[in-house]
Amino acid sequence: MMQDDNDWAALQRSWQAGQSAPAEPAWLKAAVRREQRRARWEMLAEVLISLGCAVVLASWAGTSRGWTAGILWALVVAAGISPVITIRLRLATWRGRGDTVTAWRGQLRRQARLGLLLARLGLIGGPLGLVLGLALGTFGDMSQIDRTLAHGLIGPVGLVILALGWCWALHEARRHQRTLRTLAAEDERDEERA
């Protein structure tokens, strides 16, 4: 018994003396801060793009008449509140404790579900915005300058940006689907073990 205890204590000493990487955790802190900065920049970019869209749409709405103005003002409101909603949802999914396996997986699952939802909205929203922009530019009661500008925005550059955004949304949707599948597989494995 005494010999077993001595063996175990020797193994403990050897284990604790071992390091798989330098003890200096500066790179870990840097990585976490980089991740935080990335998240902040993403949110800022989202807010700026939404506000930019809202400003352009508001300027068009101001010179449009009838149902065109109504649709444009509705889009201004949507562009203004969408970043508020998505940021609040994101922050809510980040506030989990994650100090049990179930809580941690639940947190990952909520984040993945939200990411999937936002990516799907992006996949639908892009082409929808294109169709709506073309319809307003063609049939809407807008000033000639705004009509030209609207068609210009949906020109080749606009289409390239839209295509890139759509591909990115597709990539994100697949990534979140993979995460959800992995989590489901882990849950199943746990149930089998239990």
Binding site: D4, D7, W8, L11, Q12, S14, W15, Q16, A17, G18, Q19, S20, A21, A23, E24, P25, L28, K29, A31, V32, E35, Q36, W94, G96, R97, G98, D99, T100, V101, A103, W104, R105, Q107, L108, T182, L183, A185, E186, R189
Partner: protein
């Protein structure tokens, strides 16, 4: 507040995180990713720490949870006999240091070969956690912890004996 606590957790328990991660993932590249995931998880979880357990236990709990969620990657079989550059250098070191490094390498391999249920208990036991701290960290019953720890110790002794 969170910044200070995060620094304290990483400065004080960076080695603990590294060892828990290395017990679950032997591929060096994936291990680095996993360490980063643990650090991120810790950053998110720290505001929820209510000091109902020690910081070390909390850090181990979060690290363990993240590692469990990465089991898909962890179960990937690594190439056998792979040595880290640090351990490769052992051949050029004085005998005592080389022996220590060899023991450490064999112990690492023996821990990684344990079944997952025993490995998670063994890692915390080797870290010097008491049975109660292991119970708090893993959320298992004290009986289960005692049984698994005893089996893990026996298997480790046997494997270390065979390897020497």
């Amino acid at each position: 507040m969170r910044e200070g606590l995060f620094d304290q957790a990483l400065d004080g328990h960076g080695g603990l995180i590294a060892r828990i991660v290395s017990a679950h993932e032997r591929d060096p590249a994936l291990r680095e990713d996993l360490r980063q995931d643990v650090a991120l998880a810790l950053w998110r979880a720290l505001p929820g720490w209510r000091e109902e357990c020690g910081l070390r236990t909390f850090v181990a709990r979060v690290a363990h949870n993240v590692c469990v969620s990465h089991q898909r990657r962890a179960v990937r079989e690594p190439p056998r006999g792979e040595l880290s550059p640090q351990l490769d250098a052992a051949t050029e070191l004085p005998d005592a240091v080389a022996i220590d490094n060899d023991l450490r390498r064999r112990l690492s391999a023996a821990v990684a070969d344990l079944p997952a249920a025993l490995r998670e208990v063994a890692v915390l036991g080797l870290e010097g956690f008491t049975n109660q701290e292991i119970v708090d960290t893993l959320g298992l019953s004290s009986g289960t912890v005692a049984t698994r720890l005893s089996r893990a110790k026996a298997m480790l002794r046997e494997r270390m004996g065979q390897a020497s």
